[in-house]
Subunit: 181 residues, 2 copies
């Protein structure tokens, strides 16, 4: 059972260590974790932009094809919602009919984060009607996770935000995913 | 040929008029546009949150199943990237092997928008390495569009941001999509 470990974790300054820690957690639950890290990122970044991004994209898609499930880090990233690349990947697994699991290190609800964001950076048009529904993110995201994997998005159970790169909620998610596959 | 008209357009105060204008543009190119508007949104919003969001999610997925292609509004929304729900949908179409087309009313590159965002709302961890690659958004998004539909994301050709709800780039995208299907 191979799990695609999607998330903005790849942007961390210590991305390789973070990925190794996630792989070790997955292994404890009998899951082979595959992080979309590019071991040859230093070489890729020497390529012209148009070659570099396509190499990363195609490699990620190839890894997604090889994986059975996705375990997505849906912690908000540079905006009110989860990382944008991760969301493409979650949608892809849902469309492929592969199981979708996810977690977030943010305890704050989507509606509250949205209100705070709009207060800091006003919308280009007033009165945009984005409903919160008491959810952790735009409804398509918990929808993709709950209908795609049968479990909710795992959140801090104590209502306290975790550090951006914390792994305890990830482990809760991995353990629960294990019981569904 | 039915096109799912994804985008944050559904949040507009005049969402119904905007959807009608998009449907009319699609019709001129022989495409049946299907906007994910809920005609019965007033009733849905009277339901308990947990019923309301599921009703919207399941209806959207049903409409996506009925459509042949997606034409996504990828204009940035409340953050550095496109609307999060739209990204789930783009990924879903890519995963399903249905053609993906997209446009954005923003002319500014992803890297510049990201820098501006971080200046306004600092990242939770410094030195997060998100590469711009001269692209309009996170590389998974132009990747999904270019490899999913064969065309780039359509952007303002004059380098000037359009209004959030402008439809001229949408029409350019529809006309080009028509030639690929």
């Amino acid at each position: 059972m191979k799990a695609y470990l999607a998330g903005p974790d790849v942007f961390l300054p210590n991305a390789a260590e973070n990925a190794a820690a996630k792989i070790a957690i997955c292994a404890r639950y009998g899951i082979i974790g595959r992080p979309p890290l590019n071991e040859d990122i230093a070489r890729i970044l020497t390529l012209p932009h148009d070659e570099a991004w396509r190499a990363i994209y195609l490699k990620d898609i190839e890894m997604m094809e090889e994986c059975d499930i996705i375990i997505a880090n849906l912690t908000p990233f540079r905006g009110t919602s989860a990382d944008s690349g991760t969301l493409i990947e979650v949608g892809w697994f849902l469309g492929r009919g592969k199981k979708v699991f996810g977690y977030s290190n943010a305890a704050t609800e989507f509606a509250a984060r949205s209100a705070a964001h709009v207060a800091a950076i006003p919308d280009p048009i007033p009165r945009l009607a984005v409903e919160g529904f008491g959810l952790p993110d735009n409804l398509m995201i918990p929808g993709a996770v709950e209908y795609g994997g049968g479990l909710p998005i795992f959140l801090p159970p104590d209502g306290k935000d975790r550090a951006f790169d914390a792994l305890d909620i990830f482990e809760t998610c991995v353990a629960a995913a294990r019981s569904m596959i």
